[in-house]
């Protein structure tokens, strides 16, 4: 199950002649990425097929970046990559903690993430890079749990700000029938209310099962989707909440009325996209592609941010001590540059990384939220997601 990253070993070999200090007085900083894999149906498009190294590849790049800096700081970064099934997750986590690894990036669903955080207690700092569940940032927040990916509320608010800026205020909301879809739809309802849009009608697309892709399946889709969206009240945009990827991709160009589609298809709010080139991001994209042999996905970026968080703390504190690093990350001095045009910081009230959210079409960056017109007394980034006064998180650190 466990495999120490090979590319890291290769990297270390390359770095040996460059090292200026003796190996024995180096600070060693260990971290792990624990990915809990679930059975998932295949995506609608074969372009979105999952890859074995999803998330791990972002961790490898962050570790290589940390290692380059570590060369000048006399620090050495090590990464352990582990996959587990949901019923083995806690045992795997215990094994990692038993090895003395204090920083563990979690790629799992919300429920599993919560179980792992409670199992770890104060022995480890967990960084959630996978689950967008708002409850992990609200009533189910934990003092030992940070979040690098945007929550559903942050994603919905990011899209809503843009749609309202466009004066596309009348939405047809189409949601899937799975739990994640419904939570995402709820986030869009909240966003519509916050930013002054109207959801004129809601439709639910029931998942009746069956094969995801069939040869010539488009023939049926072309007949089904227009009828499905027929007779909806007048709307300016179709907002789709289909986290499970059952039908969202079918909506663009197939709706009854000629309307743009946004949300899970069309214009998507994402933490990352391979087309993003602003703020020097091309450099990160190229580094990733050269290393992984594929394009960078949001989960890769979210793991990259998690492990760069650790690297940044180690550089600034010049320490490998768990408590020193954890306290710095949770403290007011921490800041991270992550190709989003401004520094990213963790919200002290719930451990969420503040960040701009990309709005992307299939091939290009369209806009970045927060939109300039939405003001905030502290940080415009706090117009996305649950702000401090709204937070149901009650943690004392």
């Amino acid at each position: 199950m466990r495999r120490v990253c090979l590319s890291l070993l290769t990297l270390l070999l390359l770095l040996v002649p460059l090292a200026t200090a003796q190996a024995d007085d180096k600070q060693r900083i260990q971290a792990a990425v624990l990915r809990v894999d679930h059975e998932r149906p295949l995506p609608l498009s074969r372009l979105d097929l999952p890859t074995d190294d999803l998330g791990f590849a972002g961790g490898r790049l962050a570790t290589a970046d940390n290692q380059t800096t570590g060369r000048f700081m006399n620090q050495e970064f090590e990464l352990v990559e582990v996959t587990a099934s949901p019923d083995q997750a806690v045992a795997t986590l215990e094994d990692l903690i038993g090895q003395g690894i204090g920083f563990i990036v979690i790629l799992a669903d919300g429920a599993t993430t919560l179980v792992l955080a409670d199992a770890a207690g104060d022995r480890a700092l967990l960084i959630n890079a996978g689950s967008p569940d708002d409850r992990l940032r609200n009533e189910d927040c934990r003092a030992n749990l940070l979040h690098t990916g945007p929550s559903r509320a942050m994603l919905a608010d990011a899209l809503a700000q843009f749609l309202v800026w466009k004066r596309w205020g009348d939405w047809l909301l189409v949601e899937g029938s799975h739990q994640g879809d419904q939570l995402m739809a709820e986030a869009y309802r909240r966003a519509a209310k916050r930013f002054g849009a109207d959801i004129v009608e809601e439709l639910v697309f029931e998942d009746t099962g069956g094969a995801r892709r069939t040869d010539s399946g488009h023939v049926l889709v072309q007949k089904q989707i227009p009828v499905f969206t027929q007779d909806a009240d007048d709307h300016e945009v179709v907002v789709v909440a289909d986290e499970s990827e059952i039908f969202g991709g079918y909506l663009p160009y197939q709706t009854w009325e000629p309307r743009p589609v946004a949300g899970s298809a069309g214009l998507r709010p994402l933490s990352w996209h391979a087309a993003q080139e602003a703020w020097g991001a091309t450099q990160l994209q190229r580094r990733f592609e050269r290393q992984a042999g594929r394009l960078m996905r949001p989960l890769d970026f979210q793991v990259w941010m998690a492990l760069r968080t650790l690297g940044e703390a180690a550089t600034r504190t010049r320490s490998a001590d768990f408590a020193t690093l954890r306290d710095f990350i949770l403290g007011p001095e921490f800041e991270l540059a992550a190709f989003k045009g401004q520094k990213l910081t963790y919200r002290p009230w719930n451990g969420q990384l503040r960040q701009p959210v990309l709005l992307v079409s299939d091939r290009l960056l369209v806009s970045v939220s927060p939109q300039q017109e939405f003001l905030h007394q502290v940080s415009r980034l706090d117009t996305l997601g649950y702000d401090e006064p709204e937070s149901a998180c009650d943690i004392s650190r």
């Binding site: 800096t69 000048f72 020097g280 450099q283 540059a337 401004q342």
Partner: protein
């Protein structure tokens, strides 16, 4: 008699004009990142005199001490293009490694030190033999390049490692590293070599470094009423040769900060064009030119009066600027 007095008054008029206008006209070169061109500006008339093609995505730009050769980082061509300033024609290219963005010429005119963001390297190129002399491993995403006035130290800033690396120009070895704030973009020595200014775009600060340590002696922060702090992003830095004034381009805040070089305190903010990026003096330091990437113009600052006196439209997304030495 009347005829003669008119002649005299005309002569006095010309003399007065001559006193007001600069004695020498320089030529400014501005890279236009999106247009793939360089705009040529006359510093006396402040008018555009020519525009020429400069390769794919021209960014960093510098000029030889004799003013004859213009060097342009053509980032998407993965090369440095060299132009003859007399003809504005390309004469040759220099090997640069992939995606060159910024570079600096040794005070003697050779070699050229190029930041290669993709490879975490500083590439040293002999501009005469056109050979790579060295590749120096630095931090993640090397960007800013500065050189000490005596030419002994080249400073490179790495944007993700957040350090200023001090490189010995004799041995090509890193001799010191100074940790600065997030995303360091530019490094500029004072003419006497006593101070080094390093701008941190995302950190929002300029570190004042004593190169003798080297150590940070002060961090300059910025504050403009009505501008959100995250828009105050220091990028280009220029220092007058007497060290009395430091100018810092503040990116999307559309401001250039003017800093007292004695106290290193901000004394004024000048409103320039949108997303101000790099800065370039005329050699007499009468004018400072700023490249404004999102308004497609350069602002001209009267250095003595500390005032913006003109905006000159150039190509799309102006990036770098350099003046002829004579």
């Amino acid at each position: 008699m009347r005829h003669g007095s008119r002649l005299v008054s005309l002569a006095v008029g010309i003399a007065a004009l001559g006193w007001v206008l600069p004695a020498q006209a320089y030529t400014l070169y501005v890279t236009n990142e999106k247009d793939n061109t360089v705009t040529v500006i006359d510093s006396e008339t402040l008018e555009v005199t020519a525009t020429f093609d400069a390769g794919q995505r021209p960014r960093g730009i510098t000029i030889s001490p004799d003013g004859k050769e213009l060097y342009v980082c053509a980032s998407d061509d993965d090369t440095v293009r060299v132009f003859d300033t007399a003809t504005l024609k390309q004469t040759h290219t220099l090997p640069s490694g992939p995606d060159p963005e910024l570079f600096i010429l040794h005070p003697s005119g050779n070699p050229l030190y190029i930041a290669n963001e993709d490879d975490n390297l500083v590439t040293v190129v002999d501009v005469e033999t056109r050979q790579v002399l060295a590749e120096i491993p630095v931090g993640v995403e090397p960007e800013g390049m500065g050189v000490s006035p005596d030419g002994r130290i080249v400073v490179n800033t790495s944007e993700t490692t957040n350090m200023a690396h001090f490189i010995d120009t004799e041995t090509f070895e890193i001799v010191d590293n100074v940790l600065v704030d997030q995303r360091p973009r530019y490094a500029q020595y004072t003419a006497d070599g006593s101070k080094l200014y390093v701008s941190s775009e995302i950190g929002g600060t300029v570190s004042v470094i004593d190169p003798a340590g080297p150590e940070i002696v002060k961090k300059i922060t910025f504050e403009v009423p009505g501008i959100v702090p995250e828009a105050l992003q220091p990028v280009g830095v220029a220092v007058t040769s007497d060290g009395s004034k430091v100018f810092v381009a503040l990116g999307p805040s559309n401001r250039v900060a003017v800093i007292d070089g004695e106290t290193d305190e901000v004394i004024k903010y000048l409103l320039v064009g949108q997303r101000v990026w790099q800065l370039g003096f005329t050699p007499d330091e009468k004018y400072l030119f700023t490249t404004n990437g999102n308004s497609n113009d350069v602002s001209v600052i009267d250095v003595e009066a500390v005032k913006v006196i003109k905006s000159i439209p150039v190509g799309q997304q102006p990036w770098g600027v350099v003046s002829s030495p004579n």
